[in-house]
């Protein structure tokens, strides 16, 4: 059993978003510690990670709401620090927290105010979104519930049809019907407007049907970054029986992400070519009952778990990426 070596670089030319060795510290804490993010054009990139992994910080750096301490960020080939206006004009942003400096403004006025700053604002589309999302335009922004504020932010993010959407926990605070509606609207938006999406979420199952790329973030950097197709291709869950009670993984050249044992049954999540993995397991005396691909959520959980374990095991010997 060996430590899985997950891909952390996407093989794409001129990604819409690219960060190189991005570092951001808050006092003693490093929120970003060498983030190399690549979001290909037209992708729906799902960024996952535990709380405090640095997802929100990363998005805020991309918007020039935060200055990095080291490293580079580029959007559409431009650095947000140098050309914040041009970069932001190309972005629709749904922030994780509601910002209350809009406080007592009425929702309708907030939307009008926003529209004036965006030359490409589509009033007809904004009207459709307001209706579809049942946005209470007469209410004061500060008086909205979390879910209602989310809906307003979605209108603000989508109605100028920006080429890039940065969504930070976009369904947070929405009820199940609202979530479904929002995800449907995003799908509809993608079908009508060529858009690249970077969505940060801890509810991966919600991005299951939309996401085509996965980035797993841990302690300020990516521990895996790859297309969904590659996950389907190379990550599987195997259900085995070990008739002689021998551990087929011990000594085998397998990249195991997760394992669970119950009696003589063993469930393994393995990174590698399926027929090759099955061959090795059978050679080690196991009966392979099932080999199935994982959902995006299961993949993310396996990757997050594996990272924890291997990080613990290799604490004394930092990898090349860490030094």
């Amino acid at each position: 059993m060996i430590r899985p070596t997950m891909p952390v670089r996407l093989d794409v030319e001129s990604p819409v978003v690219e960060t190189t060795g991005l570092v951001k510290r808050f006092g003693e804490t490093a929120a970003l510690s060498g983030l190399d993010l690549q979001v290909p054009e037209g992708a729906v990139y799902v960024l996952v990670g535990p709380n405090g992994a640095g997802k929100t910080t990363a998005l805020r750096v991309l918007l020039d709401l935060l200055r990095p301490d080291a490293g580079r960020a580029e959007l559409f080939g431009m650095e947000p620090r140098e050309r914040p206006g041009e970069v932001r004009a190309r972005i629709g942003y749904v922030p994780e927290r509601q910002d209350f400096h809009y406080g007592w403004i009425r929702v309708r006025d907030l939307i009008d105010h926003h529209a004036r700053y965006h030359p490409r604002w589509d009033p007809g589309y904004a009207g459709d979104l307001i209706e579809e999302l049942e946005v209470p335009t007469d209410r004061k922004y500060a008086r909205l519930s979390k879910g209602q504020a989310r809906r307003v932010q979605l209108v603000l993010a989508l109605a100028h049809r920006p080429p890039l959407l940065l969504l930070d926990e976009p369904t947070d605070g929405l009820d199940p019907v609202g979530k479904k509606k929002v995800l449907g609207l995003v799908a509809d938006h993608l079908a009508s407007t060529p858009t690249t999406v970077l969505v940060s979420t801890h509810l991966v199952y919600e991005a299951e049907r939309l996401g085509d790329h996965l980035g797993v973030m841990k302690e300020g950097r990516l521990t895996a970054q790859l297309p969904r197709e590659k996950l389907r291709d190379r990550m599987h869950r195997y259900l085995l029986r070990t008739p002689d009670g021998r551990d087929p993984v011990e000594g085998a050249d397998l990249e195991v992400l997760q394992r669970k044992r119950a009696g003589r049954e063993l469930q393994l999540t393995v990174w590698g070519e399926r027929s090759d993995v099955v061959g090795r397991l059978e050679q080690a005396g196991a009966e392979v009952r099932e080999a199935s691909p994982l959902s995006l959520e299961e993949s993310a959980l396996a990757l997050l778990g594996a990272d924890e374990r291997s990080a613990a095991r290799t604490r004394r010997e930092p990898t090349a990426a860490e030094v």
Partner: protein
Amino acid sequence: MADETDVLVEIQADDARPIYVQIMDEIRRAIVVGGLDGDDPLPSVRELASSLQVNPNTVSRAYRELERDGLVYVRRGRGTFVSPEADREADRRRLAREVAERALRDARRHSLTAEELVASIRAVSDGGGGGDGDRAQRRANQPTEGREES
């Protein structure tokens, strides 16, 4: 309120099949059971993506593959339609095969052999058990009767 799409397409996130394959299978199913007839339009990519909350690229891919299989044709600017010459019998056999494959996978998981599975399907459909699983199991039985594909 109007129906969202003209075709009932249901997908499961935890299904082992990729989503585009599930969409293809659902459209196939609609064609086989007569929910869709020759020259009937499929929902637009946008409609289906929005109602299923899936990535439009996934729907496009399903439609492209269905077109390649000759089940649908595209008229530029007008949409995607069911081929009138779609071979329903062949597709029915294919559907049965896929159901059988799924049943077999499940059997293997439970350490049952194909023979044991077939025998119990016969037993159940010959008047035993009955109930909801009855019809699905009878379909799963078909490929062993019509052997032309294996």
